[in-house]
Subunit: 191 residues, 2 copies
Amino acid sequence: MTTEVPTGPRRSDATRAAILEAARERFAADGYERATIRAIARDAGIDPSMVMRYYGNKEGLFAAASEFDLRLPELGALPSRHAGAVLVSHFLDRWEQDDVLMALLRAAVTHDAAAERARSIFRDQLGPVAVALCPDPAEAPRRAALIASQILGMALARYVLRLPPAVEMTREEIVGWLAPTVQRYLTEERP
Amino acid sequence: MTTEVPTGPRRSDATRAAILEAARERFAADGYERATIRAIARDAGIDPSMVMRYYGNKEGLFAAASEFDLRLPELGALPSRHAGAVLVSHFLDRWEQDDVLMALLRAAVTHDAAAERARSIFRDQLGPVAVALCPDPAEAPRRAALIASQILGMALARYVLRLPPAVEMTREEIVGWLAPTVQRYLTEERP
DNA sequence: TACATTTGCCAACAAGCGTTGACCAACGTC
DNA sequence: GACGTTGGTCAACGCTTGTTGGCAAATGTA
């Protein structure tokens, strides 16, 4: 719970933003430990000590850089039989247009705070979608975890491990294969 | 290609094995960069310099510690409609009984050599299974990658990120949900 | 103009890292 | 029993890391 003091725009806002952007790129490319404060500062064109002044320490910098909104679409509007395809397609978009998911995944594998952040994102943002669409709300967390497993797995294979066949597939092919899976995890009765 | 000089058992074999075991545990628990040679040596009860003597450097130690055989069962024997369930069940076994898959995953996310090792394991060991069972052999690599995405994703969710619903599911529930997915990726005609 | 705050750089710290080479003890072989 | 080989420890190296505190310039305020 951060106490929100209504502070106006500061002269240093551009620097703060540059640091955050560099941090997101480095965390995404290198993971938590190999993304050094010195390298981030170099990318941002400032001194490493500025990072400490504005974000306290490396942990605080990561916390600030890894805030994330999945921007999941409202699925109530369209027929629920298309939910799987919409979800898969949307996740591919988010993965390719924003570094934060990659930073989160790369860091979460070796860094506890990042893993906790990932857990809370899936719980708080994907969870409600499952509650709204799956047959038994009590089962929603399980459904959400199954969906997360397939989507995270494809992201891992395609963007991190770069398994050649996963890289070579088109977006449409991926949606074609994964959408029925996600659809089933979301809406089908228990197996 | 290692030239296989037929060398007999050495007095140091126990030490070498202790180093490898400690290395596997540390790489599995901490990933590549946080698993330090000093910590591995401490776990093995020897001096860090021994690690260097026996494995050259950290890279060589990881290469030795991450050799892995998926031990995929012969699937030709049983009806191919059960292949999905057998595969999922077998992967869960391998994941829970051997540290190496965890070490490989944790390291591959931030370390190129580990990612290459992971790619080659899936290509050389899972690939042939797909060739044998999927309708069009030319499509086998893609099928194998899809299967890898679902299985890696569940491993990531359950064993690495520890999403609570994924941790709480029983083995049987996971097989029940994932087997149809893997089965479809393996044998179903193109969507 | 005088002063306080903010923004930034610089130099250094202590700790930890992978890695090296000298050295000693135990062993196997003649 | 002498001796080369092997298994092991110890102390140190050069380097990088996160982090700190001091100082200078720019900016805002009276």
